[in-house]
């Protein structure tokens, strides 16, 4: 087998700097949007006392979930010993750090008081999942940083297995934490389910891998390097398994709810008459995010079609975004049942009615800015560090 | 060798005394805004130098007592700072303490420290709104001003009484 050689992402100047400039421009727009929202208060957003977490949170959770999933490729290489995945480990670690940073930036800039980050860092309420998540996020950066070093530095190689295992378990804890943010909310019928934690883990597998495939293909296209079909096919098939697993968890989640009479209302809302949320579920999550990608991944007609792989990954991401939209916003829009057996005739606080939410443009720009932050970090990181193999052509001995 | 040490000693002594003189000069100079209640008082609720150095710690400490433990008759109350240090303009209207040249702003600008208090707190004394509905006028309702209020003292604190209480703190009677 040929010796693997890594090098910095190198391509013609206009191509690299042009791409980077475009990303930075998107970030600047996002920063402007965040400033606009902080200056005027959340009054200029679509968020209210009913929908307290809006589009920025969908983006942020999406990126954070994808971040831990992006690390999976590295974990498969080091924890489960998959030789075809091992060369991709470094890039996987970098992508994980980038996506998490992007997600956290969005989360932070949407706080009512982002300038009080220092308070969040110095005052901890250890009963709060949120506080635990702050520790999990910072720990993730540290551990994945060490992991990257262990992968890249000869001196660090002896820690390769150890850091690999540590990173794997930490990422499981991190996604459990993210899922538990919702899973531990007793107040709302859409949440309050322990299944949300494992469901978020499997979602992270799927979104993270989709992000990985897209960024890997873009990077190799950008640098005009060779990417073998066999490796892509492996990644693609794995993606199919993960998409199927997400679907399975979604199924169990809804079946459980359908069995519980108390939850019939929320199920009816999401599955039948919730308007935009029903559409987001059936068209966004099920059609775009599940059926189409599965077809593209498993149909023999597209076996080695790179365009189909890219589209499938993209659709998984779009579907995942809609899935989180339904969970985060749909779960809040459905009214809480304060008085079982009674209907609310009048309330100035929108009790008993479906809360309306129209996302505002700055919210979306902030979220897109977060994705750009993630991609910029990856682009700069790949340029400065030797994370990408010179060539990922398929090994000659095909029996892997 | 010996003489060099002596010169050094002398120089450091000189430098020290100059610094001491300078700081004394700074300390003796009053920065209280003319026209505020505080201008007519001998001293703040604690010696001026101490308040200058530690007011932020005192305020933070007592705010936690108030918010977290419900202790309202604290010694270092931001509302009382404002009551005492807000000056009035020609028309008799209060000027915000964080307006240019006013008590808080002048010093905080010099030290380049932005006081965040006034994002939520008043910058001028509050004219009593119909606050304590049912208990208005009762003894209980007026402990809001807190400072040094004993049971046998008048339950309602007028501006003059308030100033007098501050004067007691300052050591006059």
């Amino acid at each position: 087998m040929k010796k693997l050689h890594y090098s910095e992402l190198w391509c013609s100047s206009p191509r690299y700097w042009g791409g980077l400039a475009a990303l930075v421009f998107i970030i600047l727009i996002g920063v402007g949007a965040a400033y606009y929202m902080e200056h005027n208060g959340h009054a200029v957003t679509g968020m209210s006392n009913q929908i307290v977490w809006g589009l920025p949170h969908v983006f942020a959770i999406f990126l954070i979930v994808a971040a831990s999933g992006a690390l999976n490729v590295a974990s498969i290489g080091s924890v489960f010993g998959g030789p075809l995945y091992k060369p991709l480990g470094r890039f996987s670690g970098l992508l994980a750090i980038g996506l998490l940073a992007g997600g956290l930036v969005v989360l932070l800039l949407d706080l009512g008081r982002p300038e009080r980050l220092i308070v969040a860092m110095t005052h901890y309420n250890f009963k709060s999942i949120f506080a635990w998540n702050i520790i999990l996020y910072t720990g993730f950066f540290t551990i994945v940083g060490f992991y990257l070093w262990a992968m890249m530095d000869r001196k660090g190689y002896k820690y390769y297995k150890l850091t690999g295992f540590a990173a794997f378990f930490w990422r499981l804890a991190l996604t459990t934490g993210t899922g538990s943010i919702f899973g531990f909310i007793v107040a709302r019928e859409a949440y309050d389910e322990a299944i949300l934690a494992p469901m978020f883990i499997i979602m992270s597998f799927s979104f993270g891998l989709a992000f990985f495939i897209i960024t890997l293909m873009s990077a190799y296209w950008w640098a005009s390097r060779e990417l073998g079909d066999l490796r892509l096919a492996k990644l693609k098939n794995l993606l199919g398994v993960f998409v199927g697993a997400v679907f399975y968890f979604t199924l169990v989640y809804h079946l459980t709810n359908l069995y519980i009479t108390q939850h019939h209302g929320i199920e009816r809302f999401i599955l039948l008459d919730g308007g935009v949320y029903t559409a987001a579920f059936w068209i966004g999550q099920i059609l775009i995010g599940t059926i189409v990608p599965l077809f593209l991944v498993y149909s023999p007609a597209f076996e080695k079609n790179r365009f189909a792989i890219a589209i499938a990954s993209l659709f998984v991401l779009v579907g995942g975004f809609f899935q989180l939209y339904v969970i985060v916003i749909g779960g809040q829009a459905y009214p809480m049942s304060l008085f079982p057996g009674k209907e609310v005739l009048e309330s100035s606080f929108y009790d008993g009615v479906v809360a309306s939410y129209v996302p505002s443009v700055p919210e979306a720009l902030l979220g897109i800015g977060g994705i750009a932050v993630a991609m910029t970090l990856v682009a700069v990181g790949a340029r400065m560090l030797k994370v990408l193999p010179d060539s990922l052509q398929d090994p000659e001995d095909e029996c892997i | 060798m010996r003489s060099a040490t002596g010169i050094k000693r002398f120089a450091s002594l000189l430098l020290g005394s100059v610094l001491l003189l300078l700081s004394a000069a700074v300390l003796s100079e009053s920065n209280v805004t003319p026209g505020s209640k505080a201008a007519g008082l001998e001293s703040c609720v604690a010696p001026t130098a101490e308040i200058r150095r530690y007011h932020m710690l005192y305020l933070t400490h007592d705010r936690d007592l108030t918010v977290r433990q419900g202790k309202r008759n604290i010694k270092y109350s931001l509302a009382e700072c404002i009551d005492c240090h807000a000056a009035k303009d020609d028309k008799g209207e209060y000027i915000p303490v964080d307006a240019e040249g006013q008590f808080c702003e002048s010093c905080h600008k010099y030290t380049a420290v932005e006081p965040l208090c006034f994002q939520c707190h008043r910058t001028v004394p509050e004219e009593k709104r119909s606050a304590l509905g049912g208990v208005q006028g009762g003894a209980a309702g007026n402990r809001s001003l807190g400072l040094l209020l004993d049971d046998d003292e008048a339950p309602s604190l007028s501006a003059q009484e308030y100033a007098r209480l501050h004067a007691i703190v300052g050591g006059e009677d």
């Binding site: 008081r113 309420n125 949120f130 | 400490h61 918010v67 977290r68």
Partner: protein, 258 residues
């Protein structure tokens, strides 16, 4: 110098001494929340011997009456907030703080109509306190659940977790402040059982006063731990219920005839 000022001087010295100690400790260990023991003999503060609570008789709560809501708005400076000109009435209503709200219900089966005020229920085990990452959402020793806006970062997790939708986020810029209820953009707030009044010795909340003034007397506030208080006696005599009792939060606000 008179006797009085001598005395206060002594406590003050001790107070300063302790303050400095506490401030020093806070500098050394900034991660630890600053909670200092009683700093002076003169202040009493919230005591765990007391548990403030309310009993709301929904039979007495009149339809169309909003006296409690208006009184709360006035008491806590909510009426000082103004709708920005560019904003729709609908959005303003969805975003402005509402500490207390009137709700009208109809039983799906029997058609019985109920009117009641909803506000923070001041749980013994408040979910908002559990989820708050910084500890800004907290429960006082006397059972009042409130937000310490000095360390609230505006994450709104408490609003997600509250089963009663009792909390409001300050979406707008605030120009006019009060001493009783300092308020700023970007923090969460909710009913604090008129903590300011109670701490100054009042025995009623603004909403109760307003309700009594209207002649309805639907709201009864008092110390649930004191067997001789009116509210404790009433609770002992009548059957009352907690809203969402299934969550076992042991609310401080109880309702009869719901």
């Amino acid at each position: 110098m008179n006797r009085k000022s001598d005395q206060t001087d002594a406590t003050r010295r001790e107070f300063i001494h302790r303050t400095l100690l506490a401030a020093g400790a806070a500098t050394v260990a900034p991660g630890i929340l600053l909670t200092v023991a009683r700093a002076g003999a003169e202040s009493e503060g919230a005591s765990s011997d007391t548990r403030w609570g309310m009993l709301i008789d929904t039979n007495k709560c009149a339809e169309g009456c909003s006296a409690c809501v208006d009184a709360c708005d006035r008491e806590n400076g909510i009426d000082l907030l103004e709708k920005p000109e560019w904003q729709s009435e609908e959005m303003w209503n969805a975003q402005r703080p509402q500490w207390i709200r009137k709700v009208k219900l109809r039983d799906r089966q029997t058609g019985e109509i109920t009117n009641l005020p909803m506000m923070c229920q001041h749980c013994e085990f408040p979910p908002c306190v559990d989820v708050c990452p910084t500890g800004a959402s907290f429960k006082r020793a006397d059972g009042i659940v409130m937000v310490d806006r000095h360390i609230c970062i505006g994450c709104r997790y408490c609003m997600m977790a509250c089963p009663y939708k009792a909390r409001s986020f300050v979406h707008h810029n605030v120009t006019e402040h009060t001493v009783r209820s300092p308020r700023g953009k970007g923090c969460v707030e909710s009913c604090n059982l008129c903590a300011y009044r109670i701490d100054h010795g009042a025995t009623t909340t603004a909403c109760q006063d307003a309700c009594t003034a209207e002649g309805h007397e639907a709201i009864l506030f008092g110390d649930l731990n004191d067997p001789n208080s009116a509210v404790a006696k009433a609770l002992k005599q009548q059957s009352s219920r907690q809203i969402r009792a299934d969550l076992e939060l042991n609310t401080g606000v109880r309702y009869t005839n719901v």
